[in-house]
Point group: C2
Chain length 612, copies 2
């Protein structure tokens, strides 16, 4: 490490404060006091301690920095501007539509790996990155800067626990304990000892420092990486530090200074401020880059028509099959790997698998971390339990993360375990993620092929798998492009187009057979791509059935496949009827529940007959 010039760091810290104040005052909103409390820490990290190529923020062995307290974005922007990455004048465009220096950081900026701003999420991402460094045999370290308020989030403790269990000594958390939350003091104020005991009990090495004393800061940073524990640096700070008339005062969260106040504050800071431009930073070690390249193709599958295979099991087989030839693939599960079948991959590639235990928020955070490092992470658990991680998935959308989420045990067709284990809202929640892809295979071949598509497509992809076994209906060479659909039954004079997926596709095919015996023919479509929806395929089929469509799904009536079809096709005059679960279900046998909630073949037959 370079010799660290404490006086320079003090000057740079004040320069970062000045930028943060000026930018937020120019924007008319923002969190200058949350920047000021962390300015000394960030100066020390960026201008003396972290090893990185400032001209190339994506360099594979750069130390990583995650601003978990994303509202201190102006400080992060100021730090990178002061490294010379972009002109400092840009900072005054903060929060403007014509600048990517947004209110909270997003990866629209080259130097941001993941979006932050929903508190308590940075550490889980950091765990994923630290695990990835280990997998890739790289020695970069991951630094996560947290606020003290966000320590109340349980996701922080999920991450802390897994970091402790995995002895991630390449992960460093720094907590900016400025005492003041948004609406009042935090529960523990400046009692760093509370945090110290908590982190220690979760397996961390701890250091307590004065977060405005650059000698203390640089001293503890010099000892980073020692031992076999993750390290947390608990920094006692003042909110608004460096602004004499504001620091440590309540009522200053998320509030820019007035022009007059800003002028006064900057006048206080200016005499000791110093630019960081030209200040040398330690270089990262030159180590081989990981091979994160997609293979040309994946091995073929060998199912036989009529084989009974649950799509959840096909997912497990696909994960292994794809993972064999695609080194980018990693996987994680929340202690359900024997139910989701991700254990097939785990058994073969334990080093590429992260058991996240029963902590779904952190599992998605870990996956996001791997994704930010070029991997293709598949995270699996019961579909309903991804509702636990919905905020992490939402922020994954903002991060444009390459997340692959696989939810099993969907709908009432799981049977006896009852409603708490049934994924009945997963399509609604996954559809409403920016840029998401939502897939719902009905047989093993479709599940396997969609897994290939997921591995190849950038962005958040969700695969909905089912618990019951289902007959293989497709040949191994069938293709399932994202955005497509399969017309399985169609004939002249069909009365209605039935759109289904998963267990309801099986029921729709049964209904088709029964109706045929009564002289009623229907079109049946496998809508395996819920988002994007095969609008044209369904529309074209609907036009041949007098614009009459019936969507049947093992999901609540709101936000699922039925709403997707209605939402996309009703503007064209297509009349969309729905059969879906419309009340809180009960425990029972799968077939009993499909009947009780009106989504089995009998219900389809009855509904089709009633339509005109």
């Amino acid at each position: 490490m370079n010799d660290i010039d404490i006086e320079s760091l003090k000057g740079i810290a004040n320069q970062l404060r000045i930028h943060s104040i000026a930018a937020t005052t120019a924007a008319g909103s923002g969190h200058p006091t949350s920047c000021c409390s962390a300015a000394d820490i960030v100066a020390a990290l960026f201008f003396g301690h972290m090893r990185y190529d400032a001209k190339n923020p994506h360099y594979h062995n750069n130390d990583r920095f995650i601003l978990s307290k994303g509202h201190a974005a102006p400080l992060l922007y100021a730090a990178w501007a002061e490294t010379g990455l972009f002109p400092t004048e840009e900072l005054l465009k903060l929060r403007r539509l014509d600048s990517d220096l947004e209110g909270h950081p997003t990866p629209r900026l080259s130097f941001v790996d993941v979006a932050t701003g929903s508190l308590g999420q940075g550490l889980g991402v950091g765990v994923g990155m630290a695990l990835c460094a280990r997998l890739d045999k790289l020695d970069y370290r991951t630094y996560v800067l947290l606020g003290d308020g966000e320590i109340a989030e349980g996701a922080v403790w999920e991450a802390a626990s897994l970091a402790g269990v995995n002895q991630l000594n390449n992960l460093i958390a720094i907590v900016d304990v400025n005492r003041l939350g948004q609406s009042q003091e935090t529960a523990f104020g400046h009692h760093l000892n509370v945090y110290k005991r908590r982190f220690e009990s979760f397996g961390w090495r701890t250091e307590e420092i004065d977060g405005h004393d650059l000698e203390e800061i640089t001293e503890v940073l010099a000892a980073v990486g020692l031992g076999n524990q993750p390290l947390v640096i608990l920094a006692k700070t003042l909110k608004g530090a460096g602004i004499s008339f504001i620091q440590d005062k309540e009522g200053w969260h998320g509030k820019p200074l007035s022009k007059e106040e800003a002028t006064r504050a900057i006048a206080e800071l200016q005499p000791t401020a110093k630019s960081g431009i030209g200040h040398a930073v330690p270089a990262p070690n030159q180590l081989p880059a990981p091979k994160n390249e997609a293979p040309a193709s994946y091995p073929a599958t060998s199912y036989k028509i009529g084989d009974m295979v649950a799509t959840r099991e096909a997912f497990g087989s696909a994960l292994l099959r794809i993972g064999e030839v695609d080194q980018r693939v990693v996987a994680m599960d929340g202690d359900t790997k024997n139910s989701t079948y991700s254990e097939k991959f785990y058994k073969k590639f334990p080093e590429r698998f992260a058991e996240c235990f029963i902590a779904e928020q952190n599992m998605v955070g870990v996956a996001t971390g791997f994704s930010a490092r070029g991997k293709v992470p598949f995270a699996s658990t019961f579909a309903c339990f991804f509702s636990r991680a919905y905020d992490q998935i939402r922020v994954g959308g903002i991060s444009m993360a390459n997340l692959k989420i696989v939810g099993s045990h969907v709908g009432v067709s799981i049977g006896e375990d009852g409603p708490s284990q049934m994924g009945l809202e997963d399509l609604a929640m996954m559809r409403a993620i920016a840029g998401s892809t939502v897939l719902y295979p009905s047989d093993a071949v479709a599940a396997e092929k969609l897994m290939e598509q997921m591995a190849m497509k950038k962005g958040i992809c969700y695969l909905r798998t089912s618990r019951p076994k289902a007959a293989v209906i497709y040949n191994n060479d069938e293709q399932f492009p994202i955005g497509g659909a399969k017309v399985l039954r169609q004939s002249e004079g069909d009365k209605v187009t039935v759109v289904a997926a998963g267990v309801t596709l099986t029921e729709a095919l049964k209904a088709s057979d029964q109706l045929k015996d009564e002289g009623i023919r229907i079109t049946v479509i496998d809508a395996y791509s819920v988002k994007p929806l095969a609008k044209d395929v369904i529309k074209s089929a609907a036009q041949a059935t007098n614009n009459l469509v019936l969507v049947v799904e093992d999901h609540y009536a709101e936000g699922g496949l039925g709403d997707a079809v209605a939402g996309e096709l009703s503007s064209d005059g297509v009349r969309v009827h729905k059969l879906a679960v419309t009340e809180l279900p009960h425990s029972g046998k799968p077939e009993e529940l499909l009947a009780r909630y009106g989504i089995d073949a009998a219900a389809i037959v009855k509904k089709v007959k009633s339509l005109s």
Copy 2:
């Protein structure tokens, strides 16, 4: 407390084991080994320690018991059957459609306060109940039985922290540390010391015991309530305890015994088993019941047409106004009370307000706990942050909890803070909750009146409030029944029916004025009730506009108001067009963003002109 006969408790514990084994074998599924590990603890709690009227599970001062490890449901059912509440023969109907003894407990059963089965949620509910006991000046205690696997959930630590901060010595957690998770050993096996240090660092008193030694169990239970800390009892147990050929073995999670195995296991247990029927249990103290009655009416509001008031502020005013006369009303927030305006209530009624800090999962858990005790809890934070608690809300739906959820700062209209702070998926997620009501007021009067409806209506109700100020458009005597809508503009020859709410209603009214100048007239509907939707009102208006509807919303295009309208009306031949946010938004000024994402008056004008 009664003298406790240890030998009887041992016998009852084995009787509970026998029931659990027999019931799961009869059902062909379930978690008998997870029951057996906790059988001694449950026997001690239900047949010697807890103070309750077993004939009246709802008695207001009964000790409460929450089975956070909900998969041990057969054990809970067996315990209540053995108190004499219902015939033990019923236990063999486990998991059947014709019995409410479901796979995981739900409040369809009189003795279950809240649904469990999604792990890690019980303790937060327990915190709410314990806080409620204090508020109601009752001395019941709340016991929460957790599994060791679920301790990995962050929600547990959110709850643990708040319990410690509030010194809830009327809350007792018991952790059944049986070492084995679903797919492998937990991270900490039988190392109780890890859990002990964690709970201590979160402010709890801890006791470590052998969970199969009834003398130890009863001894620590006898010291419950001492001191000013919550108590956690860490019980070392064996999964499947009491079944010699299964206990402490891997591979037995969620697996019933075969008939032969069950016969053998029961033969081992039978000689020492003893029924609990007729066994006296300690009675609760007779204390006055809390007055949880709704008032006849609420005070009137006094807004003036044209006043500029944000609906979030109207929520705060309504909470205070309603709370003044409705003692059932309590509130909680996640350190955003100065933004959501719940601080209006907090300032007047601090004792009825729970500051939950930045821990939304636990906030919803706490609210669920209050709801289970007869209160009407209003939980508020930014709408997007309720995505953090989606699983808790989902389970609240299964609990049929009387939760009132208020999400502010919705859509791109929040402006500069950027996408991480924008609620753009909240309608989708809240619509997909079983039995939910979803409300979206456009002015202060509507917000206030809908708050009254929410307080009066049982079940999960969501209120979507907005950040920007909006003009008051309704008189104070306007009524807003749930399931209704307001037709604000309508005339002969209207070209299209525009359906909107919140900020887009304002834009739709502007568009209406602009179009009128060009000779185009439109119907404008305020769809303040998103679920249930005013289907008839919209349909009737649509019929007068050639079945043409345009829905405009500050929400993603998936699962929101547009999908709701299309999903309900397209089957009637109504053609529903949508304007909504269709890409990941950016920071910027609210009006810039409404324009950029195509949901402002100009976009409506353009779209209306394009329709035919």
